[in-house]
Subunit: 228 residues, 2 copies
Amino acid sequence: MPKVYHFALDPFCRRLRLMLGEFGMEAELIEVRPWEAPPEFLRISPFGDVPVFMDDNGTVVSGIVAAGEYLEETRGTPERTLYGTTAAEKAETRMLLSWFEGRFFHEVTGPIYMEKALRRLLPREKGGGAPDTRRVRAAMERKKDHLTRLGQLADERKWLAGDFLSAADLAAAAQISVLDYLDALDWNGLESAKLWYQRMKSRPAFRPLLSDRVRGIAPPSLYTALDF
Amino acid sequence: MPKVYHFALDPFCRRLRLMLGEFGMEAELIEVRPWEAPPEFLRISPFGDVPVFMDDNGTVVSGIVAAGEYLEETRGTPERTLYGTTAAEKAETRMLLSWFEGRFFHEVTGPIYMEKALRRLLPREKGGGAPDTRRVRAAMERKKDHLTRLGQLADERKWLAGDFLSAADLAAAAQISVLDYLDALDWNGLESAKLWYQRMKSRPAFRPLLSDRVRGIAPPSLYTALDF
């Protein structure tokens, strides 16, 4: 059985786990705290990146960009693709991935995840300590514009990248689910994005994420609700 | 003829142009200063990302991850691939791309490009002004470890990703060429990385980059030298 090294609250690990779910794959999940840099983990992921996917044939792929493409390439079929079948569809999926896992992560999820979660988990010499609430507020502010754009896309199309559920939907939902866990969501005025997220959250692939808990950080009561 | 919107000193645009060169493709290059956010440019790249590749059939792909994959998909062949032919080769290429265009860019090229180039080009309200020399020094310091690792890979393998010249070689060379232009390289103690970069710099695809000039920022005299 393939192995996946992950950290439960990491948004990139969450996207990979959603892909496993959508492909109906079983994998052994091995939780790692990348900042602890366990030597056996650094041997397979020299920079300490998560997620890491270890295939049955011994192929080891670290980092979400390479691991996501690898899963699509080895488990996707024309009938069940998460990237698309034409070059234009794949380009659209990858542009949206860069949006959510690049810009959205750097402007919104990354700062909120750092300040509201990692500051409590990391040892002081690696950045642990009190959260920078100004940074959280700035990220919350930038969030609205992104979720408004997401809602517009969800209104115009069946799924974010077009007519099929793609890795872009999974990546966006994975990022948002981290905000959800950290009680950093407010759907006020974002009805279209909210409807799309309700659809995502109801998928069977989402269930394992909703039951994950990180010690010392409790999600809000609506975190597991499908009708929120 | 396809069109490419680019900025001459941007390391991601440079990687795309190297791909064009290696594929022997002609394209019309349109220089844009993304921070000026020209409305006609934002229509094709809503977040202002460069590079943008506009194909003859009208497909528009923005951002280096999607545009690089698109070129490989539409112009690559099993005989002339820049990502590899097996899933494992492609995974290796993409992991290296994430290293150079993710970590290396964020830790090294990004800060140096910002402080030594963009501060002089941007209007004050967008971050123009005096460079933060401490930030440059920290990036220069982090550079050594990356280039040592790169040199080790170049010693072990024919090219960075294995037996074939890949997009990872182009991405790494593109990032390093920006440091080169900004006089932020010192090959002292980095003989293996230097030999690899000499090989890269000698490729015909590199010539257009070496003749580019950005107004107000002159490269050092060795920038165009193939034997440096």
